[in-house]
């Protein structure tokens, strides 16, 4: 049989086994074959048991690998490893802890542990698991889905253990450095390195440490013991643990590669999104804010600032900030902000500071705010338009670091290229919008000027050609009307002539007012008094409409530089407009008040609302609401107020259908002096009699 086993393949060996099982010892002690057959039977039986054990272990390792490789989350993989090592259905050790290498800091740090904290707890867990009859897969599922991992007492212990990756520190470090397992049968007599911390909680008796390998790289170490069962650890179990640690290493490496790929994919997707986002946004402020936010988010920084460079003044100005960047701008931390942007401009290349604590350019206050930073210039068409500065990296995954690296700088540089184009686009668009706005204003002005000129010319003719006949028609009608008896039926007809003549004269007056847009003659005047006089002039019409005038004039208004006649005209025109839209018995509010460097006259009326789209056109000459009027009253008012350095605003609110606000600047002493000079120069002109104005 021995021969068959050593010289034959598995099939032959198995065939022999089957045949041997068919033979039975005869039971006779004197039988020469009995002893040999019984010996052969025992040998074959123990080989079979060993083979069966191996098969079971292989099958279990296969199951563990399947479960382990099916996930790419680090925490989950660690839980699966620990569950596999401690589950009675698998390796069945009492306790286990995992350590992972932190290459950046050159330390081996405990990450997770699993196992009961007392004999009683161990006994309870074993009996529970036996009673439940749960399969290995079920146990893994329960373990990985339970949220208690980080709270495990052994996890707490593991996390408190951090060893430098130098020889002689601890057996776990030694296992990683030498890439080999350590089977310590008696911790007390162990001659190798064993830290006090590990000895206190774990290495009290027999334990095994195996390295977690990925190809030829040690990613960490796995330590196990049978603290409660005191079952000796066999060489086979150490081999099995070593195999499992290799598989665990591969699973961890896969997860790292996956994370890295995911990160790169996310970066590429982000760049694509950024490109789409910032190139489709045309508002400069929005573009800048978007770039600031994305710059920080895509490389996992806790803040960013976007600076624009003003080529004329050489200044860098923070135009958008995000997260910690906002704090830096608010606190005016110069070397983290403006100076950093300037260094980048001077270098015309990215500036990477992995650790501000070892850089003399930063103060303690600045170091406390940001530990690492990177800045890249925004370059478009060979011109630097600005700088992006980002601060304090936060690790985006278990495999990412919390220090800016060259890769982050490169990624930010790609983003900066897109951002620079977006900034240029937005600037061009804003310039285009500004040009369009100016063009519109010019067109409006031209229209206004053309209309003004046309009105002026027309009015001059009308004044003479129409006003004279109107004067005599209306005048004679009045005369005749007065001469008629009160009950004469012709009196009504004459009244029609008189009324219509008055209306035509009013229209003519408005036209002539518009044509008469001479420079105002400014004097220091009391605005409230001008308001009162204007009110008197519309009082007849107000009485006719049964209007309720709610007057509230501020008593502490300063005197203003005004042409009182022209300003009266403004207020009369607005009041007449208000009366025109007022329902009979409606309310009109008339207020004056100081508002910073301006004084406001507010005239609001109840009644019909002016549609929003028509609001802007109210001041355009000849624009009429369809009500009786020439469309010049408000245009005249607008022009006069503009000549006073003020403006007229119009809006609707809940209470008032239309509210006009005449905003007039409060005169400074300088204005007064300038006005005095102007008046002197005008007086000098007037001394030349009858200038050729007509």
């Amino acid at each position: 049989m021995t021969e068959g086993k050593s010289s034959g393949g598995d099939r032959i060996q198995m065939t022999s086994v089957v045949k041997c099982w068919e033979l039975r010892p005869c039971g006779r002690t004197d039988c020469p074959a009995h002893g040999a057959l019984e010996n052969a039977y025992q040998t074959l039986g123990s080989d079979h048991v060993a083979l069966e054990t191996k098969l079971r272990q292989s099958s279990m390792l296969f199951k563990i690998c399947n479960v382990m490789h099916a996930t790419i989350e680090l925490e989950r993989i660690l839980k699966i490893i620990l569950t596999s090592v401690t589950s009675g259905n698998a390796l069945g050790f009492n306790r286990a802890m995992i350590f992972l290498v932190d290459e950046e800091n050159a330390v081996l740090e405990g990450r997770m542990g699993i196992g009961p904290s007392s004999m009683e707890e161990a006994a309870r867990i074993w009996s529970d698991l036996q009673a439940s009859g749960a399969s290995f897969e079920t146990v893994v599922k329960m373990s990985t889905e339970s949220p208690g991992g980080p709270d495990e007492p052994l996890t707490q212990t593991a996390k408190s253990l951090v060893f430098p990756l130098t020889p002689g520190v601890d057996v776990t470090v030694q296992s990683v450095l030498e890439k080999k397992p350590f089977h310590v049968k008696d911790a007390a007599s162990f001659q190798g390195p064993l830290s006090q911390n590990l000895r206190k909680d774990f290495g009290r008796s027999e334990f095994v440490v195996v390295p977690i390998m990925a190809k030829d790289r040690a990613l960490g170490a796995l330590i196990v013991d049978n603290e409660f069962s005191r079952k000796p650890i066999t060489g086979d179990e150490v081999d099995l643990l070593t195999s499992l640690a290799h598989q665990a290493g591969l699973a961890l490496e896969n997860a790292r590669v996956y994370e890295s790929l995911k990160l790169h994919f996310s970066e590429v997707s982000t760049l694509q999104e950024v490109g789409k986002g910032i190139l489709s946004t045309t508002n400069l402020a929005d573009v800048l804010q978007l770039i600031a936010r994305i710059s920080a988010q895509v490389i996992g920084a806790s803040g960013s600032i976007l600076w624009l460079h003003d080529e004329d003044t050489g200044q860098v100005i923070p135009r958008a900030s995000f997260g910690k960047g906002t704090i830096i701008v608010e606190r005016k931390l110069k070397n983290l902000g403006e100076e950093l942007a300037r260094w980048t401009l001077a270098e015309k290349a990215p500036v990477l500071v992995p650790d501000t604590s070892s850089d003399v350019r930063f103060s303690d206050e600045e170091r406390a705010v940001a530990a690492s930073l990177v800045a890249v210039p925004l370059t478009a068409l060979d011109a630097i338009v600005g700088v992006i500065t980002v601060y304090d990296k936060m690790a985006r995954s278990d495999f990412d670091t919390n220090v800016f690296e060259k890769e982050d700088e490169q990624f930010l540089a790609i983003l900066a290229d897109q951002a620079a184009i977006a900034v240029q686009n937005a600037r061009l668009f804003e310039a285009f919008k500004e040009a369009e706005k100016r063009l519109r204003e010019t067109q409006t002005l031209l229209l206004r000027t053309e209309k003004l000129a046309a009105v002026g010319e027309m009015s001059a003719k009308m004044a003479h050609e129409i006003r004279n006949p109107l004067t005599s028609i209306g005048g004679f009608a009045r005369r005749v009307s007065k001469a008629l008896k009160a009950n004469d039926p012709n009196r009504d007809y004459l009244e029609v002539i008189i009324r219509e003549t008055d209306r035509l004269e009013r229209i003519l007056n408005e036209q002539l007012q518009f044509a008469q847009l001479s420079r105002p003659r400014l004097k220091m005047e009391d605005l409230n008094s001008v308001v009162e006089q204007s009110l008197v002039l519309v009082s007849e019409e107000a009485v006719h409409r049964k209007a309720k005038i709610l007057k509230r004039l501020s008593l502490d208004l300063p005197k203003l530089l005004l042409d009182s006649d022209k300003m009266k005209q403004v207020l009369i025109n607005i009041l007449q407009n208000a009366l025109k839209f007022l329902p009979v018995g409606g309310k009109i509010k008339l207020e004056t008040k100081r508002a910073g460097d301006f004084v406001h006259v507010i005239i609001g009326n109840e009644g019909e609302r002016i549609p929003g789209e028509l609001m802007d056109r109210l001041f355009v000459p000849f624009f009429t609401s369809g009500k009786d009027g020439t469309g010049l009253g408000l245009a005249v008012a607008y022009q006069i107020v503009k000549e006073h350095g003020g403006e007229i605003r119009v809006k609707s609110d809940d209470e008032w259908s239309t509210v006009f606000c005449v905003c007039l600047p409060v005169s400074t002493n300088q204005d007064r002096r300038r006005n005095l000079r102007d008046r002197r120069s005008r007086l000098a002109d007037r001394r030349r009699p009858f200038a050729d104005n007509f």
């Binding site: 004067t471 005599s472 005048g475 002539l512 008469q516 009858f690 007509f694």
Partner: protein
């Protein structure tokens, strides 16, 4: 009875003013141009001149200039179809400026007030 000279190239207006001011108790004469007015002023001392601006031959301002040269004492009330000149009239040495209107109340008030002021000054 106070005497008025109405200077206006519009016949209808002249007729209206003559009728209205006569009814008010004034002695009214009329001229159709600045030149004609100057001639009449040479012959007669009027208490007040109502002067239009835009007229053929010699306009109102030219006539006013001449009146000021020769008969500085006669008050002149400008009565024009152009409201735009109202702000300028004080530099022309005219007493008042009334925009033409079919309602003559303002013109009548102004004439009355100017004559009253003159009477007071003479006293």
């Amino acid at each position: 009875m106070k005497s008025l000279l109405v200077v206006d190239d519009d016949t209808s207006c002249r007729k209206l003013y003559e009728a209205e001011f006569s009814e008010e108790g004034y002695s009214v004469e009329a001229a159709s141009s600045g030149r004609e007015a100057l001639k009449m002023l040479e012959d007669t001392d009027y208490d007040l001149v109502i002067l239009d601006i835009k007229m053929p031959e010699m306009d109102g301002l030219e006539a006013l200039c001449e009146i000021m040269k020769s008969k500085r004492e006669v008050p002149v009330v400008i009565n024009s179809a152009y409201p735009s000149f109202k702000t300028e009239f004080t530099s022309w040495n005219a007493e008042a400026y009334v925009v033409k209107s079919s309602n003559l109340d303002e013109l009548k008030r102004t004439v009355r007030s100017v004559l009253q002021r003159r009477s007071l000054r003479a006293c």
